[in-house]
């Protein structure tokens, strides 16, 4: 036995035996997982960098593609929805309005679709070593935040040049909006990523739901138009409340409030901030529930992949 072996044995003898798969039940399990992820934050950072770096590797335009997609979307919606179908008539600075909505929706869509496929895409790693598996949907969210950051720059430039510069305290609505998307995107993302391991249909279902979610939020039309429809067809008013309570709708409205300088108080539902706060709190409960579900499902990942 050489000296380094003796040192090692003595060190090991002092360490307590720990369970390889500690119980992750209940609230303590949630906290333990959160601590575990915090310990792996450097890995999380590297995974995000890997995703971002690898995505546009070997493409000539590279990072520009993060802009081309939403810009084309903006062009199409502006022209078709705004000018041809006439949605723009009721909305001043329509281009900024659309792009604000598309930017925050893009964060949600990319987080959710990236997260859903993340465990399957990282199958090699999941089967190789133990790291808290929540780290993969989190990394997908991280790379979505990067895209979001680039689009946000464009949005700022656009709102300063095309519309009324967003230079009031209203810009602070940015934060609850992003918090809403982060909490709900992560909650659903974590749950769907685990479900997708067992049932690959989930990733296609997510795409369909994302498309529905986009049209179910005031991105290419105004929130007031929904109210008009409810009045015109004498629908019960709680329908509008349900529509407004959707976290994506609230986040989009918050973004409009922050960046669409032409907006008037009448363009938004009353007590927007309070509605957002309530939604965020519910979102945290949902995040907890989804993580619990993930913890139950993850035990058999290595065989199912």
């Amino acid at each position: 036995m050489n000296e380094s072996a003796v040192v090692r044995f003595n060190r090991l003898a002092e360490q307590p035996l720990g369970s390889v798969t500690p119980t992750r039940a209940g609230f303590r399990g949630f906290v333990r997982t959160a601590q575990d992820i915090w310990r792996h934050r450097q890995l999380l950072g590297l995974l995000v960098r890997r995703d971002v770096k690898a995505r546009y590797k070997d493409s000539v335009l590279g990072m520009l593609w993060t802009l081309i997609n939403p810009l084309v979307q903006l062009g199409v919606y502006y022209l078709v929805m705004g000018q041809i179908l006439g949605a723009a008539r009721g909305i001043t600075d329509f281009a900024v309005y659309i792009f604000a909505g598309l930017t925050i929706y893009g964060l949600f869509a990319e987080t959710l679709s990236g997260a859903t496929g993340s465990i399957v895409a990282n199958a090699g790693l999941v089967k190789k070593v133990y790291v808290p598996r929540e780290i993969f949907p989190l990394a997908a969210a991280g790379s979505a935040v990067f895209t979001f950051g680039v689009q946000l720059l464009v949005l700022l430039v656009a709102s300063f040049t095309l519309g009324k510069p967003p230079l009031s305290v209203e810009i602070l609505y940015f934060f609850p909006s992003v918090a809403l998307i982060a909490v709900y995107g992560l909650a659903f993302g974590i749950l769907l990523s685990a479900m997708n391991v067992y049932l690959r249909d989930v990733q296609y279902l997510t795409q369909v739901l994302l498309m529905l979610a986009m049209w179910a939020s005031p991105i290419v039309y105004a929130w007031t138009m929904v109210g008009d429809v409810v009045n015109r067809f004498h629908l019960p008013t709680w329908l509008l409340e349900v529509y407004t309570a959707s976290p994506l709708t609230l986040a989009v409205l918050g973004f409009h409030r922050a960046f669409w300088g032409a907006g008037q108080p009448a363009d938004f539902p009353p007590d927007l901030l309070m509605r957002m706060g309530v939604a965020i709190l519910i979102g945290f409960v949902l995040l907890y529930v989804c993580q619990r579900a993930f913890a139950r499902l993850q035990g058999n990942f290595a065989q199912e992949l």
Binding site: S4, Q15, Y130, Q303
Partner: protein
């Protein structure tokens, strides 16, 4: 400062009553699952017991092999130890830092450079950024990647790929190293380097858990072995005995659990050791063409034998026999009477002509009727230095004759 060794060696892995049941589903799409929803779905579900009440501990500094036929649960057990699969019952406890050499390079991203992948893979194996930076040069040097470190990994040869992955894994300073049949990577020179690294790990008191089918590799690396059969522990004991039990299970001879004592006491005669000696009787590793060597077989007799025989054979790593003989072939007779205790038999091989490469020696002991009583597979090995002038397993002098017009 020299520390005193601990009074008893601590266990690094304690496996306590671990069972694992898999549900095998035959319906994999939403449609199929909806169609077979509810009670009818049950019949599409099949339970499979991959591990059954496995209990044993691994002390620090030991090198242990997990063996068994395909589907016996050895890889599952390795993954349970690694924390990748949760056991259905029981618990695995562990102390110290763990690194896994499972599916080498699984964490590599083809579009990233070798450098980025080193940082990523090291982080996955639990190194901090600072630790990786500190070891980076050493990792690159070990992998022999050189200037290609900044090239995208997808342009690497498969050898470079595994070399880099192996280099990262062995630089993570683990207390426990899990190895899943991946040691045979790269060219021969690199394989030697890997083996040297493993030996260095062993000297440093690191624990190695190896899953392997290869008796030669197990004998080479491990001091003890666990044989699994249908998810149950069939045998725990020394590596030599474990390889023997493993082979018997593979050949369908052994259907029940065996104890270490039973294996030792089972036969009246067993092969204790096998050595390769040079002409003056010293143990050797390297053999050159033209050498005279001796094969020494130590046979343990539990009862006196009036007549008994031995044979031995020499194989390549791929199992191709290149030479074999025995007492009956050579003399037409058997060995003379032997009392209780150890008897040493030596065979002399004159002017051997093995081609360059690795060779393994197997020995067999037989009773008076020529019925095999004990076999020691790959009990010794030797290496013949490679020659640039020729290939193959036979060495013979050769030369080019001048071309003559006809």
């Amino acid at each position: 400062m020299v520390e005193a060794p601990p009074t008893d060696i601590p266990d690094v892995i304690v496996i306590d009553n671990v069972s694992k049941t898999f549900a095998l589903r035959k319906d994999n799409s939403l449609k199929e699952r909806l169609v077979t929803f509810g009670r009818r779905g049950r019949q599409f579900k099949e339970e499979f017991q991959s591990l059954v009440d496995v209990t044993f501990s691994i002390p620090a500094g030991s090198s242990i092999a997990l063996m068994g036929p395909n589907g016996s649960g050895k890889s599952t057990l390795l993954k349970v130890i690694g924390g990748i699969i949760e056991p259905s019952q029981g618990e695995v406890q562990r102390r110290g830092r763990l690194a896994a050499l499972l599916e080498l390079g699984a964490g590599f991203h083809p579009d990233l450079s070798g450098r980025d992948n080193v940082y990523l893979n090291a982080a996955i194996l639990g190194l901090t950024r600072e630790e990786t930076e500190e070891r980076f040069d050493s990792i690159v040097a070990f992998s022999e990647i050189g200037d290609f470190i900044d090239t995208q990994v997808k342009f690497y040869s498969s050898g470079m790929y595994v070399r880099l992955a192996f280099a990262v894994a062995v630089h993570t300073d683990p207390d426990i190293l899990l190895v899943d049949e991946v040691l045979a990577v790269g060219d021969e020179a690199f394989q030697r380097k890997c083996m040297d690294k493993i030996r260095e790990f062993q000297r440093e008191g690191r624990t190695i858990v190896l899953v392997s089918h290869s008796a030669a590799q197990v004998m080479d690396i491990c001091d003890s072995g666990v044989v699994l059969r249908h998810g149950e522990v069939a045998f725990i004991g020394s590596a030599a005995e474990a390889t023997k039990v493993h082979r018997e299970i593979m050949e369908g001879k052994r259907l029940t659990r065996v104890d270490a004592e039973e294996v030792a006491a089972r036969s009246e005669m067993s092969i204790g050791a096998l050595r390769v000696l040079n002409s003056v009787g010293e143990e050797v590793q390297d053999v050159n063409p033209g050498d005279d060597i001796q094969i020494e077989i130590t046979v343990r007799h539990e009862v006196p034998h009036r007549h008994w025989g031995t044979t031995f054979s020499i194989d390549t790593p791929s199992g191709q026999q290149v030479f074999g003989t025995g007492v009956r072939r050579l003399t037409g007779d058997l060995h003379g009477p032997a009392g209780v205790g150890e008897t040493v038999i030596r065979y002399r091989l004159n002017d051997v002509a093995f081609g360059g490469g690795q060779y393994f020696v197997n020995a067999l002991a037989a009773d008076a009727n020529g019925v095999s009583v004990d076999t020691l597979w790959q009990g010794a090995r030797f290496y013949v230095p490679m020659s640039e002038q020729r290939t193959g397993t036979v060495h013979t002098e050769a030369e080019v004759l001048e071309a003559t017009p006809r």
